[in-house]
């Protein structure tokens, strides 16, 4: 039975072998490459890294020293540099496959820069070390990106390591996600000492001090909010004619957010000057800076007011004035430049009503206070600039300006040029043909030419009394120093009336001044050309003075002549009287 069983069993196992043997064999043959492949796949990277790790491990001689965190080197200029290489960090870099000598090619055990004299300093060392980068990253590759192109061409370009690090070099793809949310990406380069050259050869610094940017009111903005054309994928190469042109161009960016201010500026005299080609006139960045834009209060201090940059001479005068002294003392509401001239819509203020409005804006009771002692206060205030009396020591003069009699508005130079059919250069010749100061008949002929039939103009000159220069309008002093004596003006001896100027106003408020002779005020011609301007005592007609002498002399000579005749004829009357008496006696 047991044999039978054994036979049966052996028979069964033989059957199993026959059936499963080939199946297993097939499976084995088929799976073997698969397993081998999988094993290879699993092992290969390990092999690869093992191989690379080997390289660093091959640098174990180097790391024997350079793994010490306190290991430093002192250069010729006494600069100290840590020569510690953090192995752990290095293993996470894109360069983890490289061995020390792949980059530090000139360094070997035989030739190790042990001496401190090998390099001048840290930077010299970095520049030399970074030269190795070009072994793998050739110039062509670098220059393909404009931001690199700029840097790579510079003689004093920062070495690659400044941006990319020495032993911490990461793939760019690894940079972007971590830096996209802030400005660090741009600042990587732009916090370095980089600059570019404009067409005229001027250098423009492209360096931005991150701490300054962080302190500005724009610290929440991304660079590309203003520099809209610049993104991580776009970095256009721009070259301007000059740095000035660059400033003017970039200031356009401000209008994106500050449209209202930009519009105000566009109507200002500064914008007008720029449009006329005077590039010295300021744009946004001249007052606010590029990356240093501060809060409003920054510009409203004696030291921070940006107007000084160009108008320092006037600012000096202002700072000695009653206003400047008050501001320096910290008087909160003491006016600074923009209080009268406005910060953005800066207009020409010379002798305009607008500037008086600025004075009266604070000195609201000025007219009432003047009325207390000054007859015709309102008339005085309309014909005399505040500064004329409140700027002691300033030069003074009469400014004759053309007005349209119907509208009461200034008659502009542009309108004059149209009527007279002349150019700006020609106008001067028409107003003052001899170039020796305008004479009374010349002034009259100008007015009559303007008012000729067919011109549709009705103009007249009105005189205003003002200080001689814009600077002098700023030397306003304390009330006690102001002019209070009527005789200061109401006398032909007054300084005002010796200095006469015909001021032609342009549409934008600027003045062209033409010197006039003081006789224009008192000439008989002035009855026609200056009939709207009269100052008691000071602009009296010379002709009328002479006529007066003649008339009074005439009035006195009538009685004198008659008395003389009476005296001469008294014998006749006496004879007649005697005759009469004799006749009566005879009766």
């Amino acid at each position: 039975m047991s044999e039978e069983k054994a036979e049966k069993i052996s028979g069964k196992s033989a059957l199993g072998l026959v059936i499963f043997g080939p199946i297993l064999g097939m499976l084995y043959v088929c799976l073997l490459p698969l397993i081998a492949l999988m094993t290879l796949l699993l092992v290969l990277p390990e092999l690869a890294s093992a191989k690379k790790t080997d390289i660093l491990e091959n640098s174990s001689i180097c790391m024997g020293c350079h793994s010490s965190p306190d290991f430093t080197k002192t250069f010729k200029n006494k600069e100290k540099m840590s020569v510690f290489v953090n192995e752990k960090d290095f293993k996470s870099t894109v360069h983890r496959f490289l061995s020390c000598t792949d980059c530090h090619q000139s360094i070997s055990l035989d030739n190790h820069p042990g001496s401190a004299d090998a390099y001048d300093g840290k930077n010299a060392f970095a520049v030399a070390a970074a030269a190795a980068c070009k072994n793998c990253h050739p110039e062509a590759q670098l220059k393909a990106k404009p931001n690199h192109g700029f840097i790579a061409n510079k003689t004093n370009a920062p070495p690659c390591t400044v941006c990319h690090g020495a032993h911490t070099v990461k793939r760019i793809s690894e940079w972007k996600p971590t830096l996209s949310s802030n400005n660090q990406y741009c600042l990587t380069c732009h916090s370095q000492k980089i600059s570019k050259q404009q067409k005229n050869g001027e250098m423009l610094s492209l360096s931005i001090d991150p701490s300054v940017l962080a302190a500005s009111v724009h610290n929440k903005h991304a660079c590309s909010d203003c520099h809209v054309e610049y993104t991580k994928t776009s970095h256009p190469v721009k070259q301007f004619d000059s740095n000035r042109k660059h400033s003017i161009s970039v200031s356009e960016a401000c209008k994106k957010c500050h449209a209202e201010k930009h519009k105000a500026v566009s109507e200002s005299i500064h914008a007008k000057m720029i449009s006329e080609g005077n590039l010295k006139a300021p744009v946004c960045t001249d007052c606010h800076g590029f990356h240093t834009v501060g809060p409003k209060a920054t510009y409203e201090t004696m030291s921070g007011v940006p107007c000084r940059k160009c108008h320092e001479d006037i600012f000096k005068i202002y700072s000695k004035s009653v206003h400047g002294m008050a501001k320096a003392k910290g008087t909160h509401n003491a006016p600074l430049c923009s209080s009268c001239h406005f910060a953005h819509e800066v207009k020409v203020t010379s002798m305009s009503e607008k500037i008086k409005g600025a004075c009266l804006g604070c000195h609201k009771d000025a007219e009432a206070k003047h009325t207390k002692w000054l007859p015709n206060a309102s008339l005085h205030l309309s014909a005399i600039s505040c500064a004329a009396c409140h700027s002691p020591g300033s030069g003074k003069g009469i400014y004759l300006r053309l007005y349209d009699q119907d509208t009461g508005k200034s008659f502009t130079e542009e309108q004059m040029l149209k009527i007279l059919g002349t150019t700006y250069e020609g106008l001067s010749n028409k107003i003052d043909p001899h170039g020796d100061g305008i004479e009374s008949d010349e002034l009259w002929s100008l007015v009559s030419k303007m008012n000729e039939k067919g011109t549709n103009a009705k103009v007249t000159f009105i005189g205003r009394m003002d200080v001689s220069t814009g600077s002098e309008a700023h030397q306003l002093s304390f009330k006690k120093n102001a002019v209070k004596e009527c005789e200061n003006c109401h006398s032909q001896e007054s300084e005002f009336f010796k200095n006469v100027t015909v001021a032609i106003v342009k549409a934008d408020g600027r003045l062209t001044r033409h010197k006039a002779k003081s006789e224009v005020l008192g000439s008989m011609f002035s009855l026609l050309s200056l009939k709207q301007f009269y100052v008691l005592g000071s602009t009296r007609l010379k002709g009328l003075d002479w006529l007066g002498i003649l008339m009074v002399f005439g009035g006195m000579s009538v009685p004198l002549a008659h008395i003389t005749l009476r005296v001469l004829t008294s014998p006749i009357r006496e004879a007649k009287r005697l005759n009469k008496m004799r006749k009566e006696d005879k009766r």
Binding site: C486, H490, Q532, G555
Partner: protein, 210 residues
């Protein structure tokens, strides 16, 4: 000695207010205009006095106007409507001043309350009282507040025109005063007319009855 009541009290008061005001206005006017030649007072004082007396004269003018219109005596200023009579009368009067007075002839005009002025006086005073004085007061008023009266001033042509009119009339009145005062001494005695202006009564030269 015959006396006639020639100058009623209101007219005498009017005349002397006028006279004093004129003198002071002339002096202050000169001071305002010729600051650098005169130093009688400060400019502002001169202006204040000048302004005040200007208004006095305006008021005074209306006293005169109202008095003469309401009493009907305004006719003494109106020259005869008969042109021939007026011209003849004027020539006669001119002849007297130019010749008759020197020859001891009597004045052809005899003043009476109803016929106070000779034809030449009528002509002169009518022009003065109805044209020149109002012009002077008006131009003075415009100059007093040139801002308030700016529209009026522009209507006339400008402040310099107004001032020129004012100054020209000032010159006229100043020279007229010399003649006026002289003529006032040509009564039958040198002081006869002047006395009359105080008392109201004009003494007439007694005529001999034949």
């Amino acid at each position: 000695m015959k006396k006639i009541y020639l100058h009623p009290l209101p007219i005498r008061i009017w005349h002397w207010i006028n006279a004093i005001s004129f003198i002071i206005l002339i002096v202050t006017g000169l001071q305002i205009r010729y600051r650098e030649l005169m130093g009688l007072m400060k400019f502002k004082e001169a202006v204040d006095i000048h302004n005040f007396l200007g208004f006095v004269l305006i008021f005074n003018f209306f006293i005169w106007l109202v008095y003469y219109i309401f009493t009907g005596k305004i006719k003494i200023y109106i020259p005869p409507l008969n042109l021939k009579k007026f011209i003849m009368g004027s020539l006669k009067q001119a002849r007297y001043y130019g010749y008759g007075i020197l020859m001891g002839e009597p004045n052809p005009h005899h003043s009476s309350p109803d016929n106070k002025f000779n034809p030449m006086q009528q002509m002169a005073y009518l022009a003065i009282m109805m044209l020149l004085i109002p012009l002077q007061l008006g131009s003075g008023l415009l100059l007093w507040d040139a801002k308030m009266f700016a529209d009026w001033i522009n209507l006339v042509g400008g402040i310099k025109i107004v001032d020129t009119v004012h100054v020209f009339l000032f010159l006229f009145f100043t020279s007229f005063i010399f003649v006026h005062v002289y003529l006032a001494t040509l009564g039958h005695t040198a002081t006869a007319h002047i006395k009359a202006m105080f008392t109201g009564y004009e003494e007439l030269e007694e005529e001999h009855s034949h």
